[in-house]
Each structure stands twice: as C-alpha cells, then as structure tokens.
C-alpha cells in the first residue's frame, strides 16, 4: 500500500528520540543507570519524557485529568519494567504506545459510560483545561476530530511517526491512515478558520 496513496504535503514533525527506527541514544545510559538503582537517573528519565507523553495524552483525551493519569501510567510502567528493557531499542515508542492505547481506551470507556446512563453523547468530554483560560486554539480544535483521528494526528505531527507505523498501532491500513490524516488536518484548518471568523 504505497505508491498510489497520498498524504498532505506538510513539514515533518520533529523526529527526535521518538523515532522508532532510531537507536536509543541517551536514554540507554539513563536506563542502565536507573537499573543499577540510581534514583537520579530514574527521575531524569521521567522528566525527559513527561512533557511529550502528557502533550500526546492531552491532545487525544482533551482532558487534563485523564492526560495526567495516562502519562503517569505510561511512565510508571516504563520504570517498572526497566530490568527487562533492551537498551538497543528506543524508549520513546514504547512509552508512546502505552500513552496512545491508554488514551484511546479511556475515551472508549467514556463513550460507553454516558450511553449506559442515558446521558450525553458519545463524544462529550469534560471541557478542556479544567476551566483555565488558555490560548490554545489548535488543542481546542482537536475536539472536532474523532478520537482515532486525534490519535493519528498526534502520532504523526507531535510524536513523529510515519503512516505505516501509525496504522500498525491503530490497526488500520496505511492508506487509511494517510486519508484520515489528510482529512483531519483539513478539518482542523476549517475549524480554526470558522473559529477565527467568529
């Protein structure tokens, strides 16, 4: 699935430690040190990955509390499994898998619960930012996308994954990922334009 499939021509996301095909880089040394019992290394590992995990979780869940829970869960899982971690593999993708999967699982549970209670619609979530006034129009516009589309956008443009890798994680053909990304970005643009006009 490749030649005939198109995605929007946009700049690539910054592909740092999150890039799955890259060697593990500086994380490897931190993992080794944390394995040896260094609390400082463990702390550095968490601090190095927190912002990215939290941002990804927030943009998918659109909810501060859930994003915090997801980021915390992913990082504690990482710390809990350091003994078995292969330092030839990068830490980022492992964390991001947990973050994206858990964020989507939370949203699916959220979709199911209100329906069972006969309450709000499936995509209703608590208002973002817990009522704080934020200048975050793009994060707010993500609300217009389905959870899977949000996950695809975050994986592509925040975490720097390729369409094939996203498809693998989200269990959909690469062509579909490209289509969805294209459409999601167009929807974001339209949502932001409408918001700007209003």
């Amino acid at each position: 699935m490749g030649k005939g499939i198109v995605q929007a021509v946009v700049p690539e996301a910054k592909r740092d430690e999150a890039l799955p095909s890259q060697p593990s880089g500086p994380d490897a040394a931190l993992v080794e040190a944390a394995r040896s019992g260094s609390d400082r290394a463990t702390r550095e590992l968490i601090e190095a990955h927190w912002d990215r995990c939290y941002r990804a979780a927030y943009l998918i869940t659109r909810d501060e509390q859930r994003a915090e829970d997801v980021a915390q869960e992913a990082l504690l899982a990482a710390v809990g499994a350091l003994e078995t971690f292969d330092t030839n593999r990068p830490l980022g993708p492992w964390l991001h898998r947990i973050v994206v999967n858990r964020a989507l699982d939370l949203l699916r549970e959220e979709q199911a619960r209100p329906q069972a209670l006969g309450q709000q619609g499936p995509h209703h979530l608590a208002s973002p930012a817990g009522g704080q006034a934020l200048d975050a129009p793009v994060a707010a516009a993500m609300e217009a996308l389905s959870p899977d589309d949000r996950a695809a956008v975050v994986m592509r443009y925040v975490l720097g994954y390729r369409a094939g890798e996203i498809g693998e994680l989200l269990d959909m053909p690469e062509a579909t990922v490209r289509t969805r990304l294209h459409r999601a970005m167009e929807k974001l643009r339209n949502t932001l334009e409408v918001g700007h006009e209003n």
Binding site: M1, G2, K3, G4, I5, V6, Q7, A8, V9, V10, A13, S21, T42, I46, E47, W50, Y54, R55, A71, Q72, L75, V79, E83, T84, D86, N88, R89, R97, I98, D105, R108, A112, Q115, A116, A129, L134, A136, P137, V138, A139, S146, D148, V153, Y157, V158, R162, A163, G164, E165, G167, E168, D171, E174, A175, T176, T179, H182, R183, R189, H196
Partner: protein, 366 residues
C-alpha cells in the same frame, strides 16, 4: 491558519500545567523502585493460540441484509451522502451506491463508492505519489455519521487485493445513533473474489450467532460508472449489545471479544478468516507483552525474522536481526512461519505482508 502553523502549535501550544502530576509520578516511581528487587529474567515468547472450531447457531440464517429487507436505493444510483462529505479530497466524482439495506432496528444504510483524485505531491514531499483512488464507506442517511472507516485503494494496491483479503476490519460504536440491535457496525475492505462474508459472535448464552452482513463489490458496471479500474469490495455487518452491556476494557470486551469474520468466494469456499475478537482482546495482552521489550507476539517475531534478510541499514540490521535470531533460538517454528511472510522494499520502506493479509511497514534503515 496554515498547516505548518497548526503543526507547530500542536507541538508547542501551552497546555494546562501538569507539574503536580509529574511530581506525583516521580514520587510514585521512587517508591516503586525502592519496593522491588526483582531479578532480571527473560520471558518466553508469547505464542498466539489457535481458536477452537465453534458450532454455529444460526440466528438469523446466513443471508445478506439487502436480501432480507429489500434494497432502498438501487445499485449505481447517486448516494445520499453528499459528495462534499465523501472522500474530502481535492477532487472526486459523484459517489454512488454499491449496496443498500436496513440495519437491524430500521436505519437505512448505503455502501457508497466513488473516485477520489489525490493531488500529485512535489518531489521529495511526504507520502506516496498522487493519483486516482477508489474510496468506499458506509453511510446512514437518516442517522448522524458514524466514525466508520473509509477505505481508499489505488493502482498500487492491485497486487494486495489480488487474493483473498479481508482487511482493515474495524468497528464503529453505534450507541445513541443506531438501535441496540445494531450497536456495533463492522466494516472491512475485501478483495473482489470475496462474494459472501460471515460475521459471528458469542452471545450472553454462550451461543455462536451469525450477525447480519452485506457486501458490495465494485464490478465492471460500477467501475465504468465511477471511472475506476480498481476491483475491490466492502462489507458491513451489525452486532447487537446482546445483553452484554458496555465493556470496561478490552479484557472484558463482551461481544466484541468474540467476533470472527470469514470471507467466501462464489463457490462457497472459505478464502480468509479474521479472528477479530481474539485480536481485540488479545491485543491488550500482546501490547502488554510488546511493552515488555523482551517479548513479542509470535507472528510479530516471525515478521522480524523475515525482515532481517531485507534490513540493509546498519542500525536496522543490528536491531532487527539481533532480536529475531534470539527469538528463533527459543522457537524454531518462527523460521517456518517467516518463510510465509512476504517482504518487499519500496523507496526505503520495507513492506511486510503477513499470510493472513495484514501488512505493515518499517524503514529499511538506509
């Protein structure tokens, strides 16, 4: 706002402070670390089980929805779905109906097909080349749009669709949109020789039940109507709540955890079987296993072994081959399985095609 700016803001826009949560996580991690003295160990490769054959209790009998309720909109007629909501590409043809019927509970549906023309991208840009694509989706004209997956295939997918393929199985949750009898809407892309599908699940009484399904195939007449050369099919199936309620997690997936789809040709021969439920529930387990970097699902480990021969870049070889060989030592059957996996290289991307029709890609490492 331009796309570049949107991406920039996705990466940098200020979010609510998470400092307290980060501090809490640091404290929890410290407590977790001091609380353990686990010896280093290796876990065995997770081997995916084989599903036992189940006796079918047919309810309703295997029939297509279109047959059972009559067609609402004729094949080849303009779809109810407005063109601007279909494909959403730079340009496209008018979508037409490939199949239609009523979902359990009464909502009319239309399987819609149309041609989309993707823009040619500049040389060196991201993604594949542009071109014409055939896109398919299911639409419920009298209900809000569900998040069903729209598939698009093009020239380069011809080989992929040449043999029994039931790909991209996906579901949308119809809660609040469709009747409880059609709680879950399953869709998938089919290779053209699949003429019938069976979608089964296990109900609350432990019986295996065949769910109503419908398929649409892009035949010669349709291809002419939309101006496409792509031979492809699409299925839709409806699974009820069946008293199992909502799932809390994939491990308690209820009816979703038991779904199986089978594709048959016109002679009634089974061409492909998709253990969706096993994947759905097992996915959590396999992801947990995969989260432990020492353990891969069996099929994935075999794929790594197949990839090893093609991964030419130094880093990729180190990464892929080292792991693959290690797994193969533990489980020699992986070598046999790896021989069934087709790996091709295309512009720096290795494409892996699994025997069950699934595919994925990774960098060649060059």
């Amino acid at each position: 706002m331009k796309t570049e700016e949107i991406i920039e803001r996705l990466q940098t826009e200020p979010l609510p402070s998470s400092d307290q949560a980060r501090e809490r996580t640091l404290n929890l991690a410290a407590a977790q670390r001091s609380d353990r003295a686990r010896p280093r160990r290796r876990r065995r490769v997770a081997v995916l089980g084989v599903l036992a054959t189940v006796a079918l209790v047919l309810s309703p009998p295997g029939r297509s929805l279109a047959e059972s309720v009559g067609e609402l909109v004729g094949i080849g007629e303009p779809a109810s779905l407005p063109a601007e909501e279909f494909g959403d590409m730079i340009s496209r043809g008018e979508p037409i109906v490939l199949a239609s019927g009523e979902a359990p509970g009464g909502s009319p549906y239309e399987i819609v097909v149309g041609k989309a023309v993707f823009p040619e991208r500049p040389e060196g840009g991201a993604g594949g080349s542009g071109g014409e694509q055939t896109c398919l989706t299911v639409d419920f004209p009298r209900a809000p749009r569900l998040g069903t997956v729209e598939f698009c295939v093009g020239e380069s997918d011809t080989e992929f669709l040449a043999s029994g393929v039931l790909d991209g199985v996906n579901y949308a949750d119809g809660a609040g949109v469709l009747a409880p009898e059609a709680r879950y809407v399953f869709t998938a892309l089919l290779s053209p020789e699949i003429q019938r599908v069976e979608l089964t699940y296990v109900n609350g009484d432990g019986e295996t039940v065949q769910a109503p399904t419908d398929i649409g195939t892009v035949d010669e007449e349709i291809r002419q109507a939309i101006g496409s050369d792509d031979r492809v099919g699409y299925m839709v199936g409806f699974v009820p709540d069946d008293g199992l309620g909502n799932y809390e997690s994939r491990k308690k997936a209820g009816v979703l955890g038991t779904i199986e789809l089978v594709g048959f040709n016109s002679e009634g021969e089974e061409l492909v079987r998709n253990h969706f439920g096993e994947r759905f529930t097992g996915q959590l387990d396999s992801r947990i296993a995969f989260d432990d970097p020492q353990v891969l699902p069996h099929s994935e480990a075999a794929a790594w072994l197949a990839l090893c021969a093609k991964a030419t870049g130094e880093a990729a070889r180190l990464l892929v081959c080292r792991m693959a060989e290690e797994y193969a030592k533990e489980d020699p059957s992986l070598r046999t399985e790896a021989e069934q996996i087709h790996v091709t290289e295309d512009g720096g991307l290795l494409e892996v095609r699994m025997p069950n029709g699934e595919n994925f890609g990774m960098d060649s490492g060059e």
